[in-house]
Structure formats: structure tokens, C-alpha cells
């Protein structure tokens, strides 16, 4: 397998897209099996996770607690099936582990949990906390003189939490340059479309106003995502945020852009249809 000048494996766009498709099938299957969970926000986030884990994140499934690993903090912790499927693809957890999602004693808890799942760096489930945690891990890396990088994924609904903006302000004040954020801009929250619940207006302008480096892209376009990761690497004077425009439920027609599938499982017929579509 070929590697780049930093020793990273080189993956073709096609390979990454194929991995994302496998993860999508895994997400829908997990949620169907558990008859509960959050498929919509998992399907909107998964392309970003595949791009990040496969091409950027310095982590080792044989040593998940390596102190020098990069950190990935899934702040929108309900989208745990997305995390579990990519951790499975990377070799942190097994396919059998995926079957324990939401099951008593299972490795795959309902929301991502660092105490239960190898490769999970942050116990989420309550929105608004992950960026602060990522700032803490970024500050620690800087104090250590380490080049490790912290990546945080936020939901767009999560941006309604005030703590996000406390952390956004502090990250710029402290001039961290090893903190990169993905905003999964799928425009839907638990109850309904965000525009009906609480509008965000110009998300990019908000982050720019706080002093962040900001870029927007199509969160399902793998080549745009790879370019965005290159862009994150190039920002060396402040934290960077990628606002990734996504479709909630992406890849499954009846889930796409449908608030009903924020936190609902498909039935048997719907699962069959989803598997037909996710080829």
C-alpha cells in the first residue's frame, strides 16, 4: 500500500467512499437491531469521520491509549453509530462489538463513552461540552510541546448551547493552533428543522466573529473533505472550523432531510429498503 511523505496511507476517493458506504450500512443495521438510536445525524457525519480517520488521525488500534495519539472528540455523542462503525473499520472494535449497541453490558453504549469503548476519547451524550474538552486536550498538547492535534465534531443544533461559545472564545484567546472543529450542518435537531426551533442565521460569520479560521464545504463530497483537511493543516495561527453542509439521513431516501429519523429506528421493511439503497 502506498504512503505519503508523512507516512500516511494514501486512499483513493473511491476507497474512502466505499468505506463510508460500509459504515452507512452498519449504522442503519445497528439502529435497526437496537430498535433505538440516532441514524440521521450518524449518516450526515460519517463521510467526515471516514476522511478524518483514514487520512489524518494519528491513532493506533493496538495502543488506543497512546498518550501521543491525536484526539477525536465526538461532541454530538448521540451519533455514536457513526463512531462505532468507523472504529470497527479501523480495527478498534470488532463487528461483534457493533451488535452490542445499546445492549446491557455492551461495548457500544447508547452515547459514546470513553469508559466502555476502545478508541473513544470523550464521554459525550450531553451536548455542548466537547469543544471545551478538546480545548483542554489541545492546551495539554501545547504544554507538552507535542504535535498531537485535537479534532472535535459538533452538531449544528449543538451550537445552540452557550458553552460552545465560551469555548470558542477561550480557544482564540489562548491562540491554540492544534484544535480543529467540524460542524455537521444538517439543519435538523431533535424536534424539527432548526429554522423552526431556533435559527442560527450566519454560522460562518459567528465563528469568524469569534476569530476562528472558517471554511465551508459539502460534507458528503470526499474530495472536498480531503481538501478541507489539508486546509486545517495549513492554519497555524488559530483554531480552525469546517462548516460541513450535510443532509441528515444521507444515503437513505426516506431518512434524508427528515426530522422523524433524528432518533428513530427503521422497521424491518425500511431496513430492507435502506440496504437496497446503500449499495
Amino acid at each position: 500500500m502506498s504512503v505519503d511523505s508523512d507516512g500516511r496511507q494514501i486512499h483513493s476517493i473511491e476507497e474512502l467512499e466505499a468505506t463510508a458506504m460500509l459504515c452507512r450500512r452498519g449504522i442503519v443495521t445497528m439502529v435497526h437491531r437496537a430498535n433505538a438510536g440516532h441514524p440521521g445525524g450518524s449518516l450526515s457525519a460519517i463521510d467526515m469521520l471516514v476522511a478524518l480517520y483514514k487520512t489524518r488521525l494519528n491513532v493506533d488500534p493496538s495502543n488506543p491509549k497512546d498518550p501521543e495519539r491525536d484526539r477525536f472528540i465526538m461532541s454530538k455523542g448521540h451519533a455514536s453509530p457513526a463512531v462505532y462503525t468507523i472504529l470497527n473499520e479501523m480495527g478498534f472494535i470488532s463487528s461483534a462489538d457493533l451488535e452490542t449497541y445499546r445492549v446491557l453490558g455492551g461495548v457500544c453504549q447508547g452515547h459514546v463513552d470513553m469508559k466502555w469503548t476502545p478508541g473513544v476519547d470523550f464521554s459525550a451524550g450531553s451536548l455542548g461540552m466537547g469543544l471545551s474538552f478538546g480545548l483542554g486536550t489541545a492546551l495539554a498538547a501545547r504544554m507538552d510541546g507535542s504535535s498531537r492535534t485535537s479534532y472535535v465534531m459538533l452538531g449544528d443544533g449543538e451550537l445552540q448551547e452557550g458553552q460552545i461559545w465560551e469555548a470558542a472564545m477561550a480557544a482564540v484567546h489562548h491562540e491554540v493552533n492544534n484544535l480543529n472543529v467540524f460542524v455537521d450542518r444538517n439543519r435538523i435537531q431533535n424536534d424539527d428543522f432548526m429554522d423552526k426551533q431556533l435559527r442560527l442565521f450566519d454560522v460562518a460569520a459567528k465563528w469568524e466573529g469569534f476569530g476562528w479560521a472558517v471554511r465551508e464545504c459539502d460534507g458528503h463530497n470526499m474530495s472536498e473533505l480531503l481538501s478541507a483537511l489539508e486546509w486545517m493543516d495549513s492554519i497555524t495561527d488559530r483554531p480552525a472550523v469546517l462548516i460541513a453542509h450535510t443532509i441528515k439521513g444521507k444515503g437513505v431516501s426516506f431518512m434524508e432531510d427528515n426530522p422523524a429519523f433524528h432518533g428513530a429506528a427503521p422497521n424491518d421493511e425500511q431496513l430492507a429498503q435502506a440496504m437496497e439503497e446503500l449499495q
Binding site: S132, G136, M143
Partner: protein
């Protein structure tokens, strides 16, 4: 009588802990008040200022702790509560050793009034699995106990007080302090007075007065609210058979609540609880407020007599 404020002990402890390069201080403003500024002045590169953002402070501390640092995060006791759910979900639940200090706890805080007087912090933090909860009585013991926290592998909440109160310990007696072990400051067989924080010296004064009337009281400094020293309480149930708890905190859920839980489950005995009786505070001098709310020395004496009568 030498006086000291427990918040000064916290500031002194941070300086002593600084020889450990992994100790970091995290502030949400108010470092002048909590005394974390003592550390900041000498070690600015290991002091992280987050401005007035307590929720952020809790999770930044958690991130630091999972990266090999030992964060000491402080603000007023009342403002730690703004980040309670962050402490619950982001620190206690994953059992991350973040050490939180809430200063200016209790009614004794005084003239700032009810918004600044946390009377529920010990109760709420005590309900969290994995949390250690301590409330030392003077500056010397606060310094010693805070230093011990640095070696703990679980999170903690320490309440300190704003105002100076009589010193209970000296360097020698403080050297025997141990988290989780109550300290017997005075021995007597008639009643056990279990106190914490600024109320420990009041309890000693009350016991001295009781002795003049022929009533011999044991006085305990229960600096650790969780884990509670249940063995000591059980022994006192056999020896004294009557209890008074004394705290500058609501009588619901704090030291009084913890002792009541232990007694009712293990060794039922009469218990009178001195504390804030389910109401908020107001502005006034610290001692004035304690008197007004039935938490003065005479109230402890009265409660002791009632507890003895109930045997």
C-alpha cells in the same frame, strides 16, 4: 487566638504542589478571591484563564486531566454549581481526576448576600458517584488536605470559606490529617458534635460551655463529607448515643444528611441538625447571620441538650 481563612490554605497548597510539573490551575476569573492567584503569580505558564465561564472551565479541566495533567479548577462555590451538569457528565461519570474548589461557601460569606452564599454545594456534589467531597475547617487543614488531593485518581470538590476563623490545627496535628477520616478534637461521652468548616470552632466553643454545666461532648472535625467516616460515627453511636451535626449549609443533604443516612441504616440514635433550615440567606456579617439563622454557639448548646434528652 490565631485566625485563618481556609481559602488561604488552598492558595498555599497550590504553591506547594507546583513542584509537580503536571499540576495546573484553571480559573474562571475570581483567582484573587479563591487564592489561585498565588499560583498564577509564580507559574503563569501553568495557569489557564478562561474568563467568566464555569461550564467551560469544568470540561477544559477534564481534557487536561485525560492528557496527563492534574487540574485544580476554582471559582466561588455557588458558581461551580452553574457547571453542575458538566461536573456530573463530563467529570464524575468518566471518573476524571479534576479537583474543583468552591470558595466563599456558606452563609458565613456574609455581606454579598444570598446570591453568593452557597448552602447546597456539599449536598449536590455528594450525590455524584466517584466524587470526593471535603470541607476543611481552617487554613492549615485545607492546605494539608488539598495537597493530598493531588495523588487521588478520582475527582473532588473542596469547599473553602471566605472569612477568617480560629485556627484548629498546627503543623504537627495537621500532619496526621487523612482524607476520609474524621478528627476527634475533644472527647466526651454525653453527646457527639460532628461539624465541618467554619462551624468546627463554634462547636468547640459550645463544647467548652457545655462542660461548665457538666455535659461532656465529643467534637469531630468531619472535613470529609464523602466518603463519610462511618466507622467513627458508629463508634460514637455506642459511646455517646446522641448526635448534633453542625454545618454552614442546608440541613438537607449535606453533613447532617450524610450522618442521618449512616445512623438510620446502621445504628439509630437521636440526631439534631444545626444548619440553614431550608431558606436562603441575606446580607449581613457572617457571625450575625449565623446567630439570626439559629446556628450560633448557644444554638449548638441547646441542640446538644435536646439530643441528650432524646436518648
Amino acid at each position: 487566638m490565631t485566625m485563618g481563612a481556609s481559602r488561604d490554605g488552598y492558595g498555599a497548597a497550590l504553591l506547594k504542589l507546583a513542584s509537580d510539573p503536571t499540576v495546573v490551575v484553571v480559573e474562571a476569573d475570581l483567582g484573587k478571591s479563591t487564592k489561585s492567584q498565588n499560583f498564577r503569580k509564580v507559574y503563569p505558564e501553568r495557569t489557564i484563564s478562561l474568563g467568566i465561564s464555569e461550564q467551560n472551565m469544568m470540561l477544559v479541566s477534564a481534557g487536561l486531566a485525560t492528557s496527563g495533567y492534574k487540574p485544580f479548577a476554582s471559582t466561588f462555590a455557588i458558581f461551580t454549581e452553574r457547571g453542575f451538569e458538566q461536573v456530573r457528565n463530563g467529570i464524575a461519570r468518566p471518573n476524571i481526576p479534576v479537583h474543583i474548589c468552591g470558595s466563599h461557601g456558606g452563609i458565613h460569606t456574609g455581606t454579598d448576600g444570598s446570591s453568593a452564599q452557597s448552602i447546597e454545594d456539599l449536598a449536590i456534589y455528594r450525590t455524584l458517584p466517584n466524587m470526593l467531597v471535603i470541607h476543611p475547617s481552617d487554613d492549615i487543614s485545607t492546605e494539608m488536605l488539598t495537597i493530598q488531593l493531588a495523588d487521588m485518581n478520582s475527582p473532588s470538590y473542596t469547599r473553602t470559606a471566605r472569612n477568617k476563623t480560629p485556627r484548629i490545627y498546627d503543623a504537627d496535628s495537621a500532619s496526621r490529617l487523612e482524607i476520609g477520616k474524621g478528627v476527634t478534637l475533644r472527647e466526651g461521652n454525653d453527646v457527639a458534635i460532628i461539624a465541618c468548616g467554619v462551624m468546627v470552632s463554634k462547636s468547640l466553643d459550645a463544647a467548652a460551655e457545655l462542660a461548665k454545666e457538666g455535659v461532656e461532648a465529643t467534637v469531630i472535625d468531619m472535613h470529609t463529607i464523602k466518603p463519610l467516616d462511618g466507622e467513627l460515627i458508629s463508634n460514637l453511636a455506642s459511646r455517646c448515643g446522641a448526635f448534633v451535626t453542625v454545618e454552614d449549609h442546608s440541613i438537607i443533604g449535606g453533613l447532617g444528611g450524610a450522618v442521618a443516612e449512616h445512623l438510620s441504616s446502621n445504628c439509630p440514635a437521636p440526631l439534631e441538625r444545626i444548619g440553614v433550615k431550608d431558606h436562603f440567606g441575606q446580607s449581613g456579617g457572617g457571625d450575625e447571620l449565623l446567630e439570626k439563622f439559629g446556628m450560633g454557639i448557644n444554638h449548638i448548646i441547646e441542640a446538644s441538650k435536646v439530643a441528650i434528652q432524646r436518648k
